[in-house]
């Protein structure tokens, strides 16, 4: 049996629909069920619904064999897992944003508010820019408005929240989308099951692409 960690919420629902279309359905997932571990009738798949930021942790520690997680979470956690497929949805980008008309003072460290300190640190280190990280857990856009930080590093989907708060993207950091990951040891001992799942999903994704 394969243990699959899915992020609770919108992304998880979308991933489940893809798995279902690929032939890995699970009736319990479609009921309004409060259980966190759901197994299909055939006993082939066991779905675990976990917090999006915990998916990679479950997979790295072998509590789940495979999982689906956003590239942002994967990079931030630095998990040691195989990244087998880009599912191509849940698309957004990681970017630096600042108040419209912001001019950077290169004489002092840049104050960066973010939920993603590891990604931000790596990005600015690669540019040899000294920074001061302010780790926040939500409403990142507020930080530059109140003078808490100079800029923010966050994921940007449509840019509406930024515009409404008079912020604009100043630098692109990386594109983000949902990734299919696998535990390294599971890949050795459950390889046929994982490869089977992977190729069915790949076939589904290709079909969708062909459809206009």
């Amino acid at each position: 049996m394969l243990n699959v960690a899915l992020p609770k919420g919108r992304l998880g629902d979308k991933v489940y629909r893809l798995f279902k279309a690929a032939g890995y359905d699970c009736a319990a997932m479609e009921q309004d069920d409060r259980r966190l571990v759901l197994t299909d009738e055939k006993g082939e798949m066991s779905y675990l619904l976990v917090k999006p930021s915990d998916v990679a942790i479950y997979v790295e520690h072998g509590a789940a064999d495979v999982g689906v997680v956003g590239k942002d979470v994967l990079l931030e956690g630095g998990s040691d897992v195989y990244e087998l497929l880009d599912l191509g949805f849940g698309k957004c980008r990681m970017a630096e944003a600042a108040p419209v008309g912001f001019r950077e003072d290169r004489q002092r460290p840049l104050r960066v508010a973010t939920k993603y300190p590891a990604i931000a640190r790596r990005f600015y280190a690669a540019q040899s820019r000294e920074i001061e990280i302010i780790k926040l857990n939500g409403s990142i856009e507020l930080a530059p408005l109140l003078g808490l930080s100079d800029v923010i590093v966050d994921i940007v989907e449509t840019g509406t929240t930024l515009r409404q708060n008079n912020l604009e993207v100043t630098r692109e950091i990386l594109p983000v989308s949902a990734r299919f990951i696998a535990n390294k040891a599971a890949m050795k001992f459950k390889e046929p099951a994982i490869s089977g799942l992977l190729s069915s999903i790949q076939a589904q994704l290709n079909q969708k692409e062909e459809r206009p």
Binding site: E60, H61, Y82, L84, K184, A185, K188
Partner: protein
């Protein structure tokens, strides 16, 4: 209680592994817990993590608790050409834990073969790796690769140092989609890009995968790697050792230190690599040593979950004595039970949380059963 009964599963495994290595003539390499910090600073990329636990010694020199054993062995080894030195170690290393990002002490056992590493030597080390994994008692897989294959391909494709490092990281993650994106961004000629992008999935059954590898091999390094792997496989197969051996070209150690055979062992029930090794002639050259080097380490911390002992009683018998009992009388009462090889705990009151097989009360040197034992 006899000595073997006292040993936990991990201690048993350690002793069996040491017995295995000694039976092939490997001798234990004694060493200190610490080294000069500079050793690790100069060889940062050889280490799995850059964090080293450091301290200052009495003369003000910066020292470090060993995060790695191979560097210490290579530094002290003196094998000349035409000689071999077969060593093993059982040491603690101090590394950042992957889970809580704090320093932890990790038990590590390993084997190093230094000097002239020929085909027999390579087979011997691989055999020891296979037998080491077998001793855990769980199902296992040994994935084998050769650094010359991917290394030669990346060099021939004209990638610079930083690009090679990034490509290696993506290959290790089996991240074919991003690798393809980067190759086109770097404008790698399709002849090479097509071959590089196969590396993440070039794995599986040894003979089949080797055939696929031979089909895409270009340049001397790649062809030599295929040749070496093929003769190794033939030797191991003749010994009937190939049942658990597979080929996986996504295994890539640091290109600056490793050059030939590399391998990783997985044990069912342990989520991470449990054994890792390879050929490190380049590391030997960095230390000015003439000989070659091949070795592996067994990560005992990763095997803890596999070796876990089923939860049983803490002691076989709990003997409760009262204030009126004299010490010699209590001892006499225990003696009989201990002579039967039982674990006996004597106490005035039952220790909280203790699980005992049965509970006896000592009264005037006589033992009687207590009903409703804890």
């Amino acid at each position: 209680m006899s000595v073997p009964d006292v040993l936990g599963p991990q201690e048993r495994l350690v002793l069996s592994l040491r017995g295995l290595y000694e039976s092939y003539g490997y001798t234990r390499f004694p060493m200190r817990r610490f080294e000069e910090y500079a050793l690790y600073l100069e060889n940062k990329s050889f280490l799995t993590s850059e964090s080293v636990l450091s301290f200052t010694n009495a003369s003000g020199q910066l020292m470090a608790l060993k995060p790695d054993v191979t560097l210490s062995i290579v530094k002290r080894a003196r094998p000349e050409r035409g000689q071999v030195e077969k060593l093993y170690y059982h040491e603690s290393v101090y590394r950042l834990s992957a889970t809580d990002h704090e320093f932890t002490e990790i038990g590590q056992l390993g084997v190093e073969l230094l000097g002239d590493v020929d085909l027999y030597g390579a087979c011997e080390v691989l055999r020891l790796a296979i037998e080491s994994l077998r001793l855990t008692g769980a199902d296992f897989v040994l994935d084998v690769s050769h650094m010359g294959f991917a290394g030669g391909l990346l060099a021939d494709a004209g990638l610079d140092g930083a690009q090679r490092e990034q490509a290696s990281r993506l290959i290790r993650q089996k991240n074919a989609h991003e690798l393809a994106r980067m190759l086109s961004q770097w404008q790698v000629p399709p002849f090479y890009a097509g071959r590089i992008s196969q590396l993440p999935t070039l794995c599986g059954d040894f003979t089949q995968t080797l055939r696929r590898a031979a089909d895409i091999a270009v340049g001397t390094d790649m062809k030599q790697a295929v040749g070496e792997l093929s003769s190794l496989y033939a030797a191991l197969d003749a010994l009937g050792l190939c049942g658990h051996v597979r080929l996986d070209f996504s295994i890539l150690n640091d290109l600056d230190y490793y050059n030939g055979l590399v391998f990783q062992g997985y044990v069912e029930g342990a989520p991470r690599v449990a054994l890792s090794g390879g050929r490190y002639d380049k590391l030997m050259r960095k230390f000015g040593k003439a000989g070659d080097g091949l070795g592996f380490a067994v990560y005992l911390d990763q095997l803890q979950r596999v070796l876990a002992r089923p939860a049983g009683d803490d002691v076989d018998v709990l003997v409760l004595y009262g204030a009126q009992d004299e010490a010699p009388g209590i001892f006499r009462a225990l003696e009989e039970l201990r002579a039967q090889g039982l674990r006996v705990l004597a106490a005035g009151t039952p220790p909280p949380g203790l699980r005992a097989g049965r509970t006896l009360r000592c009264r005037n040197g006589e033992l009687e059963e207590v009903s409703g034992a804890c």
